[in-house]
């Protein structure tokens, strides 16, 4: 079953009198349970594409279907609901709320989903346990290492049972060893929980954890190939 269907998507930014074509007709289908790495130099349009996949932005033309729902037809608040229920975000800079404990950070998506307090707390602790941060719920982001912060972010992405995780260079700020640990979590979530993972990265050895690599250049997909696991 196709979870993501992009049909001839283009995105044009107007900068004064100049039209900047960030995406020039991208078509793509991602099946449920895939692990996709998106690569490409900066300015290649991969970030724009990820923003559209994440329902943070709408295409100028073309259609984007997420679980067969056309995103182009939705209002701002409807997009927020889609992001809340369908998509988990993991960012390069972690993007945790400062001065807010790990468990409260993880609770945040459920807060906007109207989950009762007790259930929120239980599910958050469960998710933290799932990423190996049992007993760290009370820590604030500035008391956690980079790898631990990223685990909190992954727990936050998991907690609403979103079918897709979008990870934008999740290991960009981490050292090699920690990067490997984080990637192991993604692999486990993908294989055990059948969560679709779409990951942006510059590094080949990170992309190697995925099973499909899509390369962007100048707003187009230039290659789309399965990773052959040795």
């Amino acid at each position: 079953m196709a979870i993501v269907e992009a049909k001839d998507i283009s995105k044009i930014y107007r900068l004064g009198d100049i039209d900047l074509k960030a995406l020039r007709g991208v078509s793509l289908t991602i099946e449920k349970g895939e692990f996709v790495a998106v690569m490409g130099p900066s300015g290649s349009g991969k970030s724009t594409f990820m923003n559209i996949l994440g329902c943070l932005d709408k295409p100028t033309s073309g259609r984007y279907l997420l679980e067969n729902v056309d995103i182009g037809d939705l209002e701002r608040d409807e997009l927020a609901t889609i992001r809340n229920k369908k998509i988990g975000f993991v960012f390069q800079g972690f993007n945790l709320l400062p001065r807010t404990s790990a468990v409260e950070n993880v609770e945040l998506p459920m807060l906007y989903d109207g989950v009762p307090a007790k259930e929120r707390r239980d599910k958050s602790l469960e998710a933290l346990k799932d990423v190996g941060l049992e007993g760290r719920g009370d820590h604030h982001p500035n008391q956690l290492s980079g790898g631990q912060q990223q685990r909190v972010a992954i727990a936050r992405a998991l907690v609403n049972n979103a079918p897709i995780i979008l990870a934008d260079e999740p290991t960009g700020n981490l050292d090699t060893k920690t990067s490997a640990e984080i990637m192991e979590i993604f692999v486990r979530l993908n294989t055990q929980s059948n969560i679709t993972i779409i990951l942006v990265t510059h590094e080949n050895d990170i992309a190697a954890y995925s099973r499909r690599i899509i390369k962007f250049l100048d707003g187009r997909i230039i290659s789309d190939e399965k990773v052959v696991k040795s």
Binding site: R76, N95, Y112, A117
Partner: protein
Amino acid sequence: MINIPSTFRISFRALRVNKMRSALTMLGIIIGVGAVITMLAVGTGASRRIAEQISSMGSNLLIILPGATTAGGVRMGAGTQPTLTMGDADAIKRECPSVSDVAPVLNGVAQVIYGHQNWSTGVIGTTPSMLVVRDWPLASGRSFTDQDVKSATKVCLLGQTVVDNLFGDMNPVGQFIRIKNVPFVVIGVLAPKGQSAQGQDQDDTIYVPVTTAQKKLFGTSFPGMIRIMMVKARSTEDLAPAERQINELLRQRHHIGPKQDNDFTVRNLTQIMQTAEQSTKVMTLLLGAIASVSLLVGGIGIMNIMLVSVTERTREIGIRMAIGAKTWDIRLQFIIEALTLSLIGGVAGIIAGISTSELISALAGWTTIVSPLSILLAFGFSGMVGIFFGFYPAYKASLLDPIDALRYE
């Protein structure tokens, strides 16, 4: 929909992080609310005092003063010529339908002696009507009667101040005192009345029958002469007709031609006092309005800080939006934050306002009254200020583009 208690927690936390800033922002509201409450307390206190004075004076009261004389082209002040008589007083009571009672006054200052004590006080010769006209009950004993007035008996009623000075704790009723060396029996004591509008001690007085005053104390060459008259109208609406009727009657009785000036003056004290009360009320409103301006300025302070806060927390807003915060989730968060600032400031302001009012009472000796309504008003107003001035920053935050907000450094 957003979870209100958690939003309050989030707001509190955000405010705690910038303690100094939050405190200074609240200070605007504290001063505003405090000023509103203090001003209303001072104003309400002043109105209450005037209202008390009106009721202590006696309600629906007219005072008739003897007129000005003109001697060789030199005009003298009101009351310089003794023109009023007991006959006038009786005629007014008899013939003016809007008048309920008339009390004549012939007064003077006299030395009063009881045993080893002596005291100088105002002695007022009058009729039993006086107690009715001035709504003045007796604390003990009895009033003198019309019979006492007719036969000019030497009886008197004492004001509380006189009792205190001559008798101390003793019961004066039945005792003899000497006024200007004339012996009088004390038959009653007037209930304490306090200060008049002019700050006079109304209890420093002695009432005697008017005829006794004329014959034994303040004798004049004109028999039946009195100094002033106090007239009680039947109701507040009757004050103006009573004034007109008295004017007509006295002009007739005093044979004043159509082109001549009155040789008497009618004063409507109640009206004067009510005007004063009205102007105090207007003043209270004015003071309150001016104080509200400072509350408004405090509100602008909140808006300013909230705008700064929205800018500082752009990234946080972006994160919240990315994980599913809807437009109103963001708006409510910032409105509640502004509301928290203004309501905490409001409560502190109420405390500040009450303390300031108390301080003004203690230091300046003014009557101040903090009414529950003014507290409610100030609190409600500060809440409204919070919502009103919090809305624009909240609105601005909710319109941020999540992508830009996430990238914001």
